[in-house]
């Protein structure tokens, strides 16, 4: 297989396989998790239930009182790389074009130079977070294979994408093919690793907010 064939494969069959596994995996996992249900709470609520779950979905995006200073690296690094990823994935014009070709909707993107800068910052934030995971005893203690593996899965498409755009290290075609391949690997593993928090974070925050809202405690 030469580099053109490689690129053709990742753009064609590779993408189809990855997207299918991603979509089926996400649906399977969502059903697997949320179909477990939960028992109705028979205790009298302090207030009418209201929207406490939704409030927590929003509120938990901000560090609770006193927490920022305990782990500034986690918070700053976390914000920077999550927002960075969102900008790269959804506001880089070639990505928008890809999404348009798949689902038919599009929106305006950012100039390539801006996305370049965001990419560098995102990569830097991810490296800092990796260093923090290695250096900080608690984080290292909690870390297993999955934590290192998912970091790599997330880092590689960003890195290869940036290298491809910058025409660095390898011929453009090969780097682009590698970029698409690593992005496909990421998609395939999202449903079956901790990366699935991208979906369950909303449910988790909602449950927490609803259970505590029942007691009249906004969390």
């Amino acid at each position: 297989m030469n580099e053109m064939q490689f690129l053709t494969w990742v753009r064609g069959p590779g993408l189809d396989i990855a997207l299918s596994l991603f979509v089926l995996g996400v649906l399977w996992r969502l059903i697997e998790i949320y179909s477990l249900g939960r028992k109705k709470d028979l205790s009298a609520p302090r207030h009418k239930p209201g929207a406490s779950g939704w409030h927590t979905i929003a509120r938990r995006s901000v560090p609770p009182e006193g927490m920022f200073k305990t782990s500034p690296v986690s918070y700053v690094g976390g914000y920077v790389f999550h927002i960075g990823l969102a900008i790269i994935i959804f506001l880089f014009i070639p990505h928008i074009k890809l999404i348009e070709s798949l689902v038919g909707v599009s929106w305006p993107g950012l100039p390539s130079q801006v996305v370049d800068l965001v990419t560098v910052v995102t990569l830097a934030a991810m490296i800092v977070l990796l260093a923090d995971r290695i250096m900080k005893p608690t984080k290292r203690y909690l870390s297993g294979f999955q934590d290192w593996f998912t970091w790599t899965l997330t880092f590689l498409p960003v890195l290869t994408g940036w290298l491809a755009v910058q025409h660095l290290l390898l011929p453009y075609t090969t780097m682009l093919a590698l970029h698409i391949l690593t992005a496909e690997l990421l998609l395939v593993f999202i449903p079956f690793t901790k990366l699935f928090h991208a979906f369950t974070v909303f449910g988790s925050r909602w449950f927490n907010g609803a259970v505590n809202g029942h007691k009249g405690v906004p969390v």
């Binding site: 249900g37 939960r38 028979l42 901790k194």
Partner: protein, 421 residues
């Protein structure tokens, strides 16, 4: 697999629900929950990271409820839960967790970690891995009627003393009273002034109230070890008592876990909504204050601060009332850092104070409370939980800090003018 382990795993499978599945699927191992846990912050030992305390439950979830986990189990490549492991986890699930719930309010993905610890305790208890200290307390509550072995005659003797000291009759088994007042053994034995305070407060408010001969003990060690069957037996007594006496409201005493057991878990344990209301005494005092039924005279002039019992404030939703009551009777009321919603546990909640072998760790964790107190240097410390009070007293004594600990209800009652005065 031993029979008890099998039972434990079966119970863990039963308690796993959609929230738990969602929580485990969301954890990214960021370690922020550690920073919220006083057992971690005061020891620096990463094994006390709250999410790590749930490892056995997480593995059961993964192996029983996820596709990949089931495949791994079928291929015999996953690590099954063992007796030795659960025994090792006892320290993490009980000694070093007071169910204070601070971790649940800081987790960035929104995991309600304390909800899961409570559920894990069900499996720990079923597999025989609950600590002897709390098991004993739970068994005594079921067989004798109270965790400290207090029986009705002891309560009656206490009632008599209080009647003599305060000159107010203490009603027992009065049908149709508005309030049924619950006690904790700690109050019956160590803090009888609580009962006298209630008598004064109710007389001033003009409310009818009663004690109940078949249900005077409010604490629920069954809930603390995580045995819902025992917890249900204990709660059912209170439900039957309240329904027999046809009271409108049952008042949970100055005890955090009694409140959680009755107010939030009770109806779920007995399997139907209550026909009466449940309120913590501080909520009732707050209502009396608002309605002008609570009138005090004079002010405490020394510097006072308030320790929020976790189950009352963060876990129970009663946060403002105690502050407004404090201001009613204290000239110099100061708040500790993190007071209220984010308050730090005394270190002995959730049954932890009943675990003898956990004492050293508890005193280590108390350094957090010590630092909070040192920041405001109060003359006295007020709280609204008899268990907090005992644990605080022990910690203060250990660190040779001369700060008396008092209950809010009795402090309020001291400021109620004598009848006719």
């Amino acid at each position: 697999m031993s029979a008890s382990l099998e039972k434990g795993v079966r119970v863990l499978k039963e308690v796993i629900d959609a929230p738990i599945a969602s929580y485990f699927s969301s954890c990214v191992h960021c370690g922020l929950c550690a920073e919220a846990c006083l057992f971690y912050t005061e020891t620096g030992d990463p094994k006390y990271t709250p999410i790590h305390k749930l490892e056995p439950l997480r593995r059961v979830y993964e192996q029983e409820y996820t596709l990949l986990g089931r495949v791994a189990k079928w291929l015999h490549i996953s690590k099954p839960i063992t007796d030795a492991e659960l025994a090792e986890w006892q320290e993490l699930v009980y000694n070093s967790c007071t169910l204070c719930g601070r971790c649940s309010v800081v987790c960035p993905v929104g995991n309600d970690i304390v909800y899961m610890v409570r559920k894990l305790r069900e499996g720990m208890s079923a597999s025989g891995n609950a600590p002897e200290g709390i098991k004993g307390a739970a068994n005594r509550t079921v067989t004798i009627g109270s965790p400290m072995g207090v029986r009705l005659p002891a309560v009656k003797a206490q009632m008599k003393h209080v009647e003599e000291d305060y000159g107010i009759p203490i009603p027992l088994d009065v049908e149709g009273a508005e309030y049924m007042v619950m006690l904790s053994s700690m109050e019956i034995i160590n803090f009888p002034e609580y009962l006298g305070a209630i008598a004064k407060i109710m007389r001033q408010a003009g409310k009818t109230w009663t004690l109940c001969s078949t249900a005077f003990e409010a604490t629920n060690a069954g809930m603390q070890i995580g045995n819902s069957d025992l917890a249900k037996v204990i709660v059912s007594r209170i439900v039957e008592g309240a329904e027999r006496l046809k009271v409108k409201t049952v008042i949970s005493p100055e005890c955090g876990h009694a409140y959680t057991a009755l107010r939030w878990e009770g109806a779920n344990l007995v399997g139907r909504p209550f026909t009466f209301q449940v309120k913590h005494i501080i909520e009732v005092l707050g209502e009396f204050q608002e309605q002008g039924l609570l009138k005090t005279e004079g002010m405490e002039t020394d510097r006072l601060t308030f320790h929020d019992p976790c189950q009352l404030a963060r876990r129970g939703g009663v946060i403002q009332q105690q502050r407004s009551l404090m201001k009613m009777i204290a000239k110099d009321f100061v708040e500790m850092p993190d007071a209220g919603f984010m308050n730090w546990c005394c270190g002995g909640g959730g049954g932890a104070s009943a675990i003898e072998e956990g004492e050293e760790l508890r005193l280590e964790a108390f350094k957090r409370k010590k630092a909070q107190l040192e920041a405001v240097k109060p003359d006295r410390l007020v709280t609204a939980c008899a268990n907090c009070r005992i644990v605080l007293e022990e910690g203060l004594e250990h660190y040779q800090m001369d700060i008396p600990v008092i209950g809010l209800t009795e402090t309020i009652a001291e400021h109620i003018p004598e009848k006719g005065a």
